[in-house]
Assembly symmetry: C2
Homo-oligomer: 201 residues x 2
C-alpha cells in the first residue's frame, strides 16, 4: 500500500498527465487535477469557468499582493489559496497524485511527498503535440504558438506563487526528460516511491 | 552490452561520484574523471597540478575570450578545449561514464548520451559531508564553507563554458535528489539507459 503523495509538474505536451495517470493506477491511488478546480468551485460558489480563467492571469507576486492589498486579494490569488488548502487537505487524507497547481511547493513542509517534474526539448514536444488530443492547434505554426503560450502561463503561475524558478531541478526529487518514454518515466517514479518508502521505514 | 554514454554532473557532497562508479560497474564500462586530467596533462605536457588549478578560475565566458583574445586563450580555456576533445574521443570509442567537466554540454550533439544530474538540499549535504572521506573540513562551519565554495566553483565552471544554467533540469535527461538513496539513483539511471537503448533499437 502506497504511503507517498506524488506531485507532478510538467511542461505542455510532454505527456506528463498520462504518466501521472499511470503512476496513480499502478499504486491504486487517486489523481487530482481538474477535480481540484471542481472542488475549489464547490467551496467558493464561483463557477468552474471563472476559476479556470483566473489561473491564467498573474502580475507581481502573491507575497507582493498579500503585503500591499491584504484581504482584497485578486480572484486568482484567492483561488490559489483555496486550492492550496484543498491540496493540503487531500494530502492529509492519504497518498494521491497531484498534477500541477504548484503541488510541490504547497506541500513543501511534508516529508512524505515525492516531487516530480516532466519536461522535454521543445522540438520533441512539437512532434508529440500532433498526436495529443488535448492540443487545439492543427497547424505547425499554431502548435508552436500554443506550446509557447502554455509554457509561459505555467511558468508565470509557478514563479508567481512559489518564488522559485520553474524547471529548476532543485524544486523536485526527480526531473525526467519525457523523451525517455512514458513507460520508463512511470518505472522511474515508482522506483523513487519505493526507495522513499523503504528509507522512511 | 551497454551502448550509451552517461554524463554525470553533481553537486558537492551528494555522493554523485559513487553513484557514477556503481553505474559504470553495473554496465561493465569505464568511468572517467581525474583520469581525464591525467590524459589532458599527457597531451599538453602541463603538470596535473597546473591543470587541476586552472579549472577553478574563470572570468567572462569562453565565447567572450574566444572572440576577444583569439589564440592567446587563458590556460583554463585551453585546458577545457583539450579536455572536451578528449571527452569527444572517448565517446567516439564507445560507452563510458563521464563525471563532471560539462560532459553533457560537450557531447550535446550525440544522440547516444544520457545526461544525469545529482543534487540534494544543502542541509542533507552538510550531514553527508561528515561521512565523506573526500571532504577536508572537520568543523560544521568548515563543511558549510567548503560546500558553498565548491558549489560556486562548479556552477561558475559550468555556466562559463556552457552558457547554460547549472541545475536547470532542461540540461539533463534525468535529475535526481540524492536523498532518495544511492541504490535508487543507480536503479533509475540504469532504467533510463535501458529505456533509451530500447527506444533506439
Amino acid at each position: 500500500m502506497a504511503k507517498t503523495i506524488i506531485t507532478v509538474g510538467r511542461e505542455y505536451c510532454t505527456g506528463g498527465r498520462y504518466i501521472a495517470e499511470d503512476v496513480a493506477k499502478a499504486l491504486g491511488i487517486k489523481l487530482y487535477d481538474k477535480e481540484l478546480i471542481t472542488m475549489a468551485a464547490k467551496h467558493s460558489g464561483l463557477s468552474e469557468e471563472a476559476i479556470a480563467a483566473s489561473e491564467k492571469k498573474h502580475t507581481h507576486s502573491l507575497l507582493y499582493n498579500l503585503y500591499t492589498v491584504g484581504n482584497d486579494l485578486p480572484l486568482s490569488d484567492q483561488v490559489f489559496i483555496l486550492q492550496s488548502r484543498i491540496i493540503k487537505d487531500l494530502a492529509e487524507k492519504g497518498p494521491c497524485v497531484i498534477l500541477g497547481r504548484c503541488g510541490d511547493y504547497v506541500l513543501r513542509e511534508r516529508k512524505d511527498v515525492l516531487r516530480v517534474f516532466i519536461y522535454a526539448p521543445v522540438e520533441w514536444r512539437r512532434e508529440y503535440a500532433k498526436t495529443n488530443p488535448l492540443v487545439q492547434a492543427t497547424t505547425e505554426k499554431g502548435i508552436r504558438e500554443e506550446i509557447d503560450k502554455t509554457d509561459r502561463q505555467r511558468s508565470a503561475y509557478y514563479n508567481y506563487y512559489t518564488q522559485n524558478r520553474w524547471g529548476d531541478a532543485h524544486n523536485y526529487d526527480l526531473a525526467i526528460n519525457a523523451e525517455l518514454g512514458k513507460e520508463a518515466c512511470v518505472e522511474m517514479i515508482l522506483a523513487a516511491v519505493a526507495a522513499k518508502e523503504k528509507a522512511e521505514g
